[in-house]
Amino acid sequence: MDSQLLEEEFVKRVQSGAKIESNDWMPDGYRHLLIKLIHMHAVSEIMGVYPEKEWVPKAPNLRRKLALMAKVQDEMGHGQLLLRIVEDLAAPYGKGREELLDDLVEGKVKFHNVFHMEARTWADAGLIGWLIDGAAIINQASLLSTSYAPYARILKRICAEESFHMQHGENVILSIAMGTDKQRKMLQDSLNYWWYSLLFFFGPLETTPAAQKMLHYRIRTKTNEELRQKFLAKYVPRIWSLGLTIPDPTLHYDSKEERWYYTEPEWKTFQKIVSENKGPKSQERIALRRFAQDQHKWVRLAMTTEV
């Protein structure tokens, strides 16, 4: 069968709900998109460690300290699970763990905009747990129906672990929201700082050719905007209920059109942060990753040396 026919057959299968395993034949285009998507997902989990990790030493009581350690550990664990998926996909290209992590240090793979930002206060650490994890969970839940079975299986596990993250994030925020004026002010300030990063997190309004291709292959089944709308529907009422002000006076729900209207984030500014690693904390955090990669080469060598 020529490759044109194979491709058509493949697309017909995935569009009718078939799942693909790592050893199945797949078009190069499908493999490339999966590698790109899951590699970015994996390194985003790993880069997501740093903003919260900074607050582990400062966590204000024993329970918070333990919970934050466990939560950050889970992020690293998700990175591990996802890297393994990418490693299997990238094996035909001779790429393994070292290369995939080197790509991060060398700026060849991007990570989510939110992890380029600064976690300035304990409220920021809490808000990351509540809203950024909330956004990530909506995104991940939408990928549960992906056509690539190994990814779907791992996402199932990731989502199960995220249910602790959700409760933990809410609990931290609720404590601050019920607290002193100083605490509430800290929380409002945090929402102001993160709001547009959160909106950007779901990606541009228009469906790019790459995104179109992912929908075509059923790697994704929802558009960016659909997911953003779902996030707003679930979280805006709760943000309001805490007495917080969302820094967007135009934000409202149109019940006739059944959609949220909002002021768009400055797409270009945020895009630059992601594509050029030019966020407030991009370089500092990549340097931490570089430390883990470079300073431990001797350890990894020793681990694989025949004694």
Partner: protein, 127 residues
């Protein structure tokens, strides 16, 4: 003199029933080679069901923990469990809201049947 045959060894058998399921251990069998172990596993373990994949693994290649203490989890770890945060529901009620659960999000994103509560929430958006 008869020729000495290869002694059979133990293979552990795993099957996967659905793309979203993990490999599940279903038992073991004796076979002289891994090729034959795989063929025998098909009839010894899955003759009555449709499966997606079968794995056979030589038992000698399986490393397992010998000490019970290896698995010890003795101290309180509720800080890393959903069950450690049951107060969230009560706290949200003070703000006239309710906590979000993962199940609710998955159901909502996949647009499966929504609970009355979810629908009610969406109607109440125009504030």
């Amino acid at each position: 003199m008869e020729k000495q045959t290869e002694p059979s060894s133990v293979y552990e058998v795993f099957v996967q029933r659905d793309h979203l399921d993990p490999m599940i251990h279903v038992g073991s069998l004796l076979a002289p080679t891994s090729e034959l172990a795989l063929q025998l596993a098909r009839e010894n373990f899955t003759r009555r069901e449709q499966v997606l994949q079968i794995w056979v693994v030589p038992r000698i290649h399986i490393q397992s923990a010998e000490e019970a203490d290896f698995h010890a989890r003795e101290m309180d770890r509720s800080y890393r469990e959903v069950s450690g945060y049951t107060e969230n529901g009560r706290l949200w009620r003070m703000f006239k809201e309710k906590e979000i659960t993962l199940e609710e999000i998955v159901r909502y994103v996949e647009q499966k049947k929504q609970s009355k509560n979810d629908l009610h929430r969406e109607e109440g958006h125009e504030s």
